[in-house]
Amino acid sequence: MIEIKNLTKYFGLKQAVNDISFEVKKGEVLGFLGPNAAGKSTTMRMITGFIPPTSGTAIIGGSDITKSPINALEKIGYLPENAPVYPEMTVRSFLEFCAEIRGFSGATKIKKIDETIEKCFLKDVTYQPASTLSKGFKQRVCFAQSILHDPEYLVLDEPTDGLDPNQKHEVRTMIREMGINKAIILSTHILEEVDAVCTRAIIIANGHIVANDTPDQLRARSGLHGAVRLVLLNANVETAQNHINTIPGTKEIEIIENKNDRLTLRIYPESVTVPLANKVLNCATENGFQIETIHTEQGRLDEVFRMITEIGEARSRLDRIVTPKSSS
């Protein structure tokens, strides 16, 4: 288990991370979300011991990163932001170096390296110096380095940055598979990634945690959640509106588009606990409307993200106004 306890970081007077605490258990893939400069990379750098926290700590599988960093680091695989790789080294010699540092030698070392090269699709570039590789390959080489020793805990800072859609898919599949028996923290600002791989998401803004929930729960915070989207053919706007308004539980009808004999409506419920779709369907068939599509909206993560992070920013601005002395 990775336990993050009251991590706080000041750069000079500027507060980058403010009292962050959370846990990641094995079997979880935690998505770490936030706008740029929200403190994602700083937090990950503190978890992996690259920068010392101003206060608080991270405990990785029972080892405190500030007190016994080497024990803690042995259990971690870390992919830093921008995936640094020694430019003059070939992919293979770089992985050999990392394997040796991780304590592998002889046949096990070769086996580990071969496996990792296979897993990360690096076969074609094995003997190429890293300086000649494209961004996507460098990313994968550095990713390979982080999983080489099959660590219990993985900290990945933007693991799919710079990859093409196919590579992104491969890496996400790999992360999801590894997530079954590892504890993984990954930062990203791609929201579809959260859906694709994460079992839980933490959103931070201005160094504060503003949300900590499963992707589905987060989506449920969206104003769209539970709304019914309906596309009718050859329908009159006013008659449609009048009929739908009679359905009990309808709060509001939004006309999204009306052209080419196709009317798109979104019907918001008064409460998400009352399923609306069935009622809308009945009403439409009773009144002889031609339905093209109907579905219930799950809510959109990007909308929730924007809503939450903007509130977070406002709150931390307020913090600064209310307590100007204590933060300096």
Partner: protein
């Protein structure tokens, strides 16, 4: 093998293969040999002096090292910071001491390799006369130790910045001071206002004072201790700087 030794060796070998994997090593060795050859033969007149010793060769080391060693050392940490690999190496399960030592030793061995290529000069001296081998051996040891001292300064300045140029300039200035601190114009500037012990202290810090006695064939333990403790102190400072600068 104890863990520390193993890790230091892995880091050292990685660094050394890094040197020889890039043109830096070959350019450095060629330029070093060309310059030392030029000074030994054309300026100090090795042949014309008619003496079977290598003093005309070794007297140039402090000055050549002054520029050449900072150029080797400048990339040690500045480059790791620029490329970002410092984040990788500092988050591997190894101690900072192991990384600093491994990198330092690799650079030191590299300089020793460059020095080894001056062996034809020893052969010439042997062929032309009957040199004092002890003295030549001492001079090699002395210049190797002095090279280590230069290198430790360069490693330290390299940790301060991510710019290799800044690191180079800082190292040259610091080394120049250490070379000249035993030189009369520098000590004279202190005479009159500084207490005697300070003047003695400053001049005893000079690379020159310690190098000259070794070069003359006197392998004094105090001189060896001076260089080794100097290197230790600089590398320790190097570590402190890295720890402070990482946040």
């Amino acid at each position: 093998m104890p863990r520390t030794l193993r890790n230091t060796k892995i880091i050292m070998l990685r660094e050394l293969t890094g040197y020889f994997g890039s043109p830096v090593a070959y350019v450095f060795i060629v330029i070093f040999l060309m310059l030392i050859g030029f000074f030994t033969f054309s300026v100090s007149h090795f042949y014309e002096a008619g003496q079977a010793d290598m003093r005309s060769h070794f007297e140039w080391y402090p000055w050549l090292f002054l520029f050449l060693i900072p150029s080797v050392a400048m990339r040690l940490w500045a480059d790791e910071k620029r490329v970002g690999t410092i984040e990788l190496i500092m988050t591997l399960p190894i101690s900072l001491t192991e990384v600093i030592l491994g990198k330092f030793l690799a650079a030191w061995i590299f300089i020793a390799i460059a020095q080894l290529f001056t062996f034809p000069l020893v052969l010439s001296t042997m062929y032309l006369g009957d040199p004092d081998y002890g003295m030549i051996f001492c001079a090699y040891v002395g210049s190797f130790l002095m090279g280590g001292a230069y290198l430790s300064v360069g490693s330290m300045t390299s940790a301060i910045t991510r710019s290799q140029v800044v690191s180079f300039i800082l190292a040259v200035v610091a080394c120049l001071f250490l070379v000249l601190s035993g030189w009369p114009p520098v000590t004279e500037a202190l005479v009159g206002w500084a207490p005697n012990w300070l003047i003695n202290l400053v001049s005893s810090f000079s690379f020159m004072t310690h190098y000259q006695s070794i070069q003359r064939g006197v392998l004094d333990l105090r001189d060896i201790f001076y260089y080794l403790s100097f290197i230790f102190f600089m590398l320790y400072t190097n570590g402190v700087i890295l720890l402070i600068r990482r946040s």
